[in-house]
Point group: none
Amino acid sequence: MNKPVVLVIDDEPQIQKLLQINLENNGYKVHYAMTGKEGLLLAANQIPDVILLDLNLPDIHGHQLLLELREWYNKAIIILSVLNSEENIVKALDNGATDYLTKPFRSGELLARIRSVIRRNSLDESSSVLQIGDIEIDLIAHVAKLNNEVLKLTATEYNLLVLFAKNEGRVLTHQQLLKDVWGVGNQNDTQYLRVFVAQLRKKIEKDPNQPKHIITESGVGYRFQ
Amino acid sequence: MNKPVVLVIDDEPQIQKLLQINLENNGYKVHYAMTGKEGLLLAANQIPDVILLDLNLPDIHGHQLLLELREWYNKAIIILSVLNSEENIVKALDNGATDYLTKPFRSGELLARIRSVIRRNSLDESSSVLQIGDIEIDLIAHVAKLNNEVLKLTATEYNLLVLFAKNEGRVLTHQQLLKDVWGVGNQNDTQYLRVFVAQLRKKIEKDPNQPKHIITESGVGYRFQ
DNA sequence: CGAAAACATGAAAATTCTTTCAAAAAAGGG
DNA sequence: CCCTTTTTTGAAAGAATTTTCATGTTTTCG
């Protein structure tokens, strides 16, 4: 079994040292970048399993770097930041961050988060079947079932359902949903979402007027359960 | 385990005596300053865990000292102030004071406040899950629970609750709350706050008439615990 | 104690957000 | 190329949320 590869993009020497000790002692292969530019390069070269990204970099702003990384990099990105405002967290999540940790953090917690995202990552690939209540999605076969009956879904409906299923119990903002299903550039067309959520509800909810699966979070987004 | 260090900046001898007896008997290491100048110096030298600051000093005004301290000192500052200076207290809190007590105060209350701010200081802020008593907020999932049941909150209610939870035990002024939840520009509409506090109480308090979580500090703001 | 200020709260009004329907445009298959 | 399916767009109805208002209660302070 190969060591998981972690890329640290952070210019604070103390943090680098702290992470080095902790990560290398726990069986990770670690690469370090001091700047955003360097980080992008290393990410492209090494394709790490997890990227730890500080929002406060000398050259590029972290949010910007996050966007650029997400154009092609689809594994875990954990944000490290001194800022713990709601606004920053939401923005980071909207831009595709996997998790968010506020500095200062306990290293035990960071290790736990890294294990968690790596597990989730390999889960996505190995176990190809998601099961949420009476809904079952076979990602390999590309088939969704409700109570063992195959659902007839269009491509977009299917993508949306998979995204919901992968994020059970968590609120997904309009932005996140639009970006993941329709791609960057369609992030302001909340209307798409509304139409397709309505269609999905018609197909998976017993009573589409009293949805049990896709819950509306007014002004924010939707939550799947 | 080291004794927590407290710095008292107050020129009233009675207060000094009272604090000395109470604090030293409760396992604190205490330093005393009679003037603002002396206080700044000691603070820089000792880096205390808590500073108790009287607003009424012989040389510098307490507000000025508070601002100067806050340029570099990020631990707890508790204001001690004579009765009847509510305006001053609000100003102090807005300027970064952690808490305040009006003189005369019961020493038991002071000790409780000190314990509270020290606990919060050493608290791990990195977690994306806030746990306060029977309330749990997952910032990543954007979900708040009361006794493990998901709370149905509007966006504004959620934001307000998160702000409260992040400042457990501490008084937040109307200004601070309004600015954080409604943004700059709405800082004079205390009425919003009252309406939403009432709504939150309905959802999280067992008996909204006897709130245990959101405590009103008349003329100042609210305290969450 | 009593007046004034601050607070609590239910409910109406205004606004914003969501759902739904339907038609037009685009894509895909034979 | 035409027909079918899917996606996009627009508009109106409906629902939820936020704001405003009115009224009663509590707190503060001389």
